[in-house]
Amino acid sequence: MAGVHVSTTVNGDPAEFVCDPDEPLLDVLRNRLGLTGAKEGCGTGDCGACSVTVDGELVCSCLVLGAEVEGRKIETIEGMADGDKLHPLQRKFIEHAALQCGICTPGFLIAARALLKKNANPTEEEIRFGLAGNLCRCTGYDKIVRAVQDAAREMRGA
């Protein structure tokens, strides 16, 4: 298999890699770029643990090819905090104990940030539908929903 050379931007920094033509972006991030925040829960688009944004659009990185992101802008969980300063969603997830094993957490945070960008004041139902592509086997979702509501409140300055 001939490698594909790709130049892209990850969390604001230029990144270059060579990948196989059928290699998922998730594998590129984890194995070639050393960004292991995005997790592989299923590899088939069902669990959302691999969520990232590509040009601002929320996607499952297991269902994107590395070869596709030439010239695109990728945001992963590694770029969410501002240095040592956690993003409000990250802080609220800790405060509300919205995680146990934490495997699903990077995906939930990226998906929740994308949700709040489109809708700063979502209802509980909108949050649950908005995060339906993210599965969590530990928390039972309630604490995640509360954390997102609380973070949304803080981010709105309410």
Binding site: P24, V54, L58, L65, A132, G133
Partner: protein
């Protein structure tokens, strides 16, 4: 294996036509990449169509809308198409999660040729056409002519669906799509129904198209169901005839998701409900 992302439909067709081995067209990849990962397809060439500008656009034309093959669910949902064809857009927006919506396309849904594909009954009810570009010439066919069976299409080697055409809406028109799933989200339709109506000034159904999903090897256009409500104001008798015609058209499978009996019955129920929503949207009372 090779990956190519051409910048024109012509270049894409040439790549596909010249490839001696197996090739696959990549739109959003939410079906293709799952099958690739599972080892169910092993293409020698992947042609990504998302860098083709003509396939990324939604155009309002004299005869309606032209939706490019690489337009994602999210892009469609935020577009002008929603007001004219709410049923089609809602159906497309039911596909998967927010993550899947960022990628999935109606054309991918159509060409994947699942009998349970959510946008397809709505597109069939809408009378949508697919614009196909191939090595020989461009052809335009009704969407119901694309799938020939589960996972099989009528597209020849080198042919690509470039866009979907949705007709212009007259006054007093409405459409709707409903599916039955045991969960509230993220599931495959057990049965589904799409209905599109045009009413006259008195609220009588003048034109109708009714389509069913997941009750046969391909999505069905059910002409007798449409006939059952044309000329009516969707009174109970007409709705019962519509449901009966839908159930009569079903030849579903029995599986863990639903029995033959269940699918046959629910097809009629969903068609009735979708017809009522379409009627309301068309301004009928």
């Amino acid at each position: 294996m090779r990956y190519e992302a051409p910048s024109s439909t012509k270049a894409a067709v040439t790549l596909l036509t010249k490839e001696k081995g197996k090739s696959a067209i990549l739109a959003g990849g939410t079906d293709l990449l799952v099958r690739l990962k599972g080892g169910f397809v092993e293409p020698d060439l992947i042609v990504d169509i998302k860098r083709i500008p003509a396939m990324r656009e939604i155009k309002k034309t004299a005869s309606g809308f032209q939706v490019g093959a690489a337009v994602s669910g999210n892009e469609l949902g935020a577009s002008v198409v929603k007001k004219a064809w709410p049923g089609v857009v809602e159906a497309a927006n039911l596909i998967g999660s927010k993550q899947v919506q960022g990628r999935c396309t109606m054309v991918g849904n159509l060409c994947n040729a699942s009998p349970a594909a959510d946008s397809v009954p709505a597109l069939v009810a809408a009378g949508a056409h697919a614009v196909i570009v191939g090595p020989k010439k461009k052809r335009t066919v009704p969407v119901e002519k694309i799938a020939t069976g589960p996972g099989r299409t009528s597209l020849a080697k080198g042919e690509i669906v470039e866009s979907l055409l949705l007709p212009k809406r007259p006054a007093r028109a409405g459409d709707a799509y409903l599916r039955f799933i045991p969960r509230s989200e993220m599931d495959i339709a057990v049965v589904s129904a799409g209905v599109s109506l045009v009413l006259d000034a008195k609220g009588v159904v003048k034109e109708a198209r009714v389509a069913l999903g997941a009750v046969a090897p391909t999505v069905l256009l059910v002409a007798p169901a449409a006939k059952a409500i044309i000329g009516s104001k969707l009174d109970d008798a007409a709705l019962d005839k519509l449901a009966a015609a839908c159930s009569a058209a079903c030849s579903p499978i029995d599986d863990k998701r639903g029995t033959i009996e269940f699918r046959t019955k629910v097809a009629g129920v969903l068609a009735k409900r979708a017809a009522k929503i379409a009627y309301q949207r068309a301004g009928g009372k």
